[in-house]
Symmetry: D2
Subunit: 338 residues, 4 copies
């Protein structure tokens, strides 16, 4: 068993990590970090468990560590649910001390030698781990994209053989994306907020890196343009997106591409039976009904129409955050980087 830890284990994404790791077949959850005032107490006593799934009792007794070199010395890999402003330095410290870092934070995503990975989309980008090692790092950092970008790029995976140059995407994003305290009820109830800080920029830049080519030393961005319009809607979990692509293929051929899609990876514990599932009903996907597919790891697609238009939806805190990092870690493990 690989010994793993979670950095920032009490927040919204941190709780998802603990949920997903408590009974993991390959990883043993041994270490949890949180703010200094929690250090020394057991997880059960410091976390305000807010997920709808039962509290994972197995993790309840883990004593909270401070995030120091010392406290991480017996850990092989850490999952980072830290806020971006804290993550930058802490993750670098971990990697310098021989720890593998799978990070959900945005701090390092766009750095040239950091892989930004969606396992079904660009598993070969893990080659950048060797680039990091060549520079003398003991450990390494692998990141997963922003939640919206993961859903979008995974929905693009079945379409990679149809080159496109222009992509427009309008998102309808869930409130959980902003964390437990991120959106006030008075702000979003009976409302749409047509703005999410930095979200459009992330979708527009991260997508190009993910769909880009690894040339042995770095990533050559994919040659298309993304124009995003991001909106918060009163939905708890599940980001829905309307996508336009300048693909000229007929609708039925595109539908078939979605239906026949087989990802290039297999057998990872967190990988769903279908990474991308095409739904035939005219009014799907819907976040409340479809976000649970594949234990939250399946991205649903529907309504392919001329234009070329389609709708896609995925669970933002599972497939779009904690689950994404865990799947990255599973891929890293099978590729012998641990």
């Amino acid at each position: 068993m690989i010994k793993v830890g979670v950095l920032g284990a009490t927040g919204a994404v941190g709780q998802r990590f603990v949920q997903l790791l408590a009974e993991h077949p390959w990883f043993e959850l041994t270490t949890l970090t949180a703010s200094d005032r929690s250090a020394g107490k057991v997880y059960r006593d410091v976390v305000n468990w807010r997920l709808e799934v039962p509290f994972p009792e197995k993790a309840g007794g883990i004593r909270i560590s401070p995030t120091t070199k010392e406290s991480l010395k017996d850990v092989d890999l850490v999952f980072s649910a830290l806020p971006a402003e804290v993550a930058a330095d802490v993750e670098t410290m971990c990697a310098a001390n021989g720890v593998a870092v799978c990070s959900n934070a945005s701090s390092h995503r766009m750095e040239a030698d950091i892989p930004l990975v969606v396992p079904e989309v660009n598993p070969d980008h893990l080659g950048l781990i060797d680039v990091q090692k060549d520079k003398g790092r003991d450990g390494f950092i692998v990141t997963n994209p922003n939640c919206s970008t993961i859903v979008l790029t995974l929905s693009l995976a079945p379409l990679r053989s149809y080159p496109f140059t222009d992509l427009r995407v309008a998102t309808m994003q869930a409130i959980s994306g902003a964390g437990f305290q991120g959106v006030a009820a008075m702000a979003i109830y009976d409302n749409v907020i047509p703005y999410i800080g930095s979200e459009e920029e992330k979708m527009e830049t991260e997508s190009l890196k993910i769909l880009g080519k690894f040339d042995g030393s770095g990533i050559v961005n994919a040659p298309f343009r993304v124009s995003a319009s991001c909106h918060r809607v009163p939905v708890i979990d599940g980001h829905t997106m309307a996508v336009w692509l300048d693909i000229k293929e007929p609708v039925d051929k595109v539908v078939r591409a979605f239906r026949d899609y087989k990802p290039p990876i297999h057998g990872l514990p967190s990988q769903p039976a279908k990474s991308v599932e095409y739904l035939d009903q005219p009014d799907r996907p819907q976040p409340r009904l479809d976000r649970g597919k594949g234990n939250g790891m399946t991205v649903s697609v529907g309504r392919v129409r001329e234009g070329l238009r389609y709708v896609t939806m995925g669970h933002n805190t599972i497939r779009g955050a904690a689950g994404a990092s865990v799947l990255n870690a599973e891929l890293i493990y099978t590729r012998k980087y641990l």
Copy 2:
């Protein structure tokens, strides 16, 4: 005072008509129609008033008529809130009997000699009334567009001097657009439904007619293409839209066009101080905070960004339905068609 009636006065749009007409300075509300089983009773006793504004007591004592030639003989103009399948014949009957019809129903919108009017956008299309009269009609029919199309085309009014050929629009539409019973709570709560029957088709065809040219005998459609993706979100009133246009002008020039916009009509009682209002805050417009602007008749615009992208929002049952018809009637009156 012009004597007016409302056809279908008990539904969601019908109630809005009664609200807007009960104290109208030019129109005297004398006639209300509803289903046969209500005929003969007074409005107060048959309507289940569901609007957040107080019941207009002045209309409470109006006795419900059946929708017959006889019952409309003293009325100059009727507003139609009928469902499309009923509206087709009833409205034709009214017009044949010398009554002016301002209809919110979709039945006649796309007919060649029926004006489809947003007063600030294409007031000259009322010229089609003469075409109808020339064909021997005693009365006439004027329609207003679908709720989403009104908000979209009004937001385009300030941009007409910048020709564009491609428009993409993703809507986030309120539940009131489907009527009081149209959307089940179990269907939309904590959810997005990425499909509204016929809505995309309406936006894609009606927009071209509204922004088209009246050549004295008919409408020449505007030469652009609309690609719509329509979604229902858990919002009570107010349709929000993300719009992309292939306009190459710089952002600040487009913002100025929105700010400086002056509509070609003036002084109508239902016309708001600003038909289009540009909002500077980065997170506006928002339906809950902005749908009440101009008593629900102002369309708000914000977030103009390169792309060219912007967000627009308007009240779907006021500006997008009953208020639209009333404004049409006011324009018709000032143009001496009554």
Copy 3:
């Protein structure tokens, strides 16, 4: 394996039955009935699956039967999710033809020889099955209470040794209680509806029967009075209730009674580890966070205060409907009535 069927398998409660029975260890789901126009088609093709859990593929291929004597001849037990007005006759017909009926419908609940059972509360009331048999019935009918009444009476089970005479309960009930189409979004969004037809009457009468005594031939109602005030709130699943009882015991003793509660039944497959769970946090139970406890079969209790007041909450379509009937059937099976 006992062969079972579901009557009315496509509605909200019917879908829950199918979910709970598809993989049941004791019951084999062989028969599903629905409206006549569905008969002959397979379940997968007629149901509009609306639950957040994945569709149970195992049940997908079952061919829909009409609800006739013929179609039920190989079934040992049926679960009835029929609407009350249909249930009355159909259930009687089933029982007359040797089928055991576990019904969620209200039609027969208050009849003198029909058990109205919550397994943890009044398992001995199943003795009424013998009364039914003595009257010459081949099969029999067992009912479960109304959803609110189940949650209330289960919360009272730990308090039965403290006699009380007056109970007041204010409910905050979920929209799923009215079925998929029962509550319009426009009616309940940003709203409370302080009325649910017949609900108060059901709570006030059913509770007395359930907590009453079986004397060998009939039920003697419990000697207390229930005064209910029922309200619909914008929650998807989970009925929350504020309860007042004229119990004079100190708060800590009552809390202990909840904590120490052991139900009189054991080992039923659908029975949760804790039928009643006391929550210490001052702001619990909450429907979104606690309705999933015990796979939806646990009733949560919290906030015991002087008065005597407490708050209780349970999943209305699982513990309060389909799950209640399934648990009844399991109890019936272990008591050798099948």
Copy 4:
């Protein structure tokens, strides 16, 4: 015109004060205070206006003052929307410096010489102003109750001639009661929170003072007991309550008492046509449909049933907060205390 100020003008209640005072016929809004970093800027530039009514431009140019003796020297009366922990000292300072204070804060409500007033219920309690003056205060403090308590006590006003000794009330309270940032969307969406800090205690103590008797020097509490259970529900504005009273009068007599109720005060500008309105429909009052009655100042009552039970509802930030204070100020003015 009386010169008035608002202390804490940028929060949820502060904004309501500004809305209600901007065009007041008797009061001239001259002074607004907010946090130190806002001082010196104009209101328009510091407030993030979050109400659904348009921003009151007339108040937009008022320059924010610090809350000092100096800045209040030209003001006759201040409305306090300060948080309780700040309000205690600031309000005392104002009163010491000759300013009349109408406070929505809880700090001073239960002090022996401070009137806790609902104008229609206990206008004579203003006699405590003389008690304050006798102690040497230059100005004085008058408070209004907690939002839930106002709605409850106003609903009791028509029933004062039927003595009762026990009152139970279950509240379903709106999120606006906690301020703009008070309730996270993740906490309340699809949920009920059965706890609001100190709310039950406030209802249980304030009600007795309000319905108590002023004996010339102090208040003798009313001789009944209140037992409250307070719950937050996903409603924007409007607190709904289920009330039980040990009144033995027949239902129709109680309904008549509600219908015939005439408050003991008249002609105050903020006083609605009906302070208490009885609604006949079986499913009313409802917060979304009824909170706007009387411009938010009417408390609605419905569903009187044996028990004695009824449901009441009022707008919590208008009737229950800012509007309550303004109405108090109007009463104070007509009673010549200014």
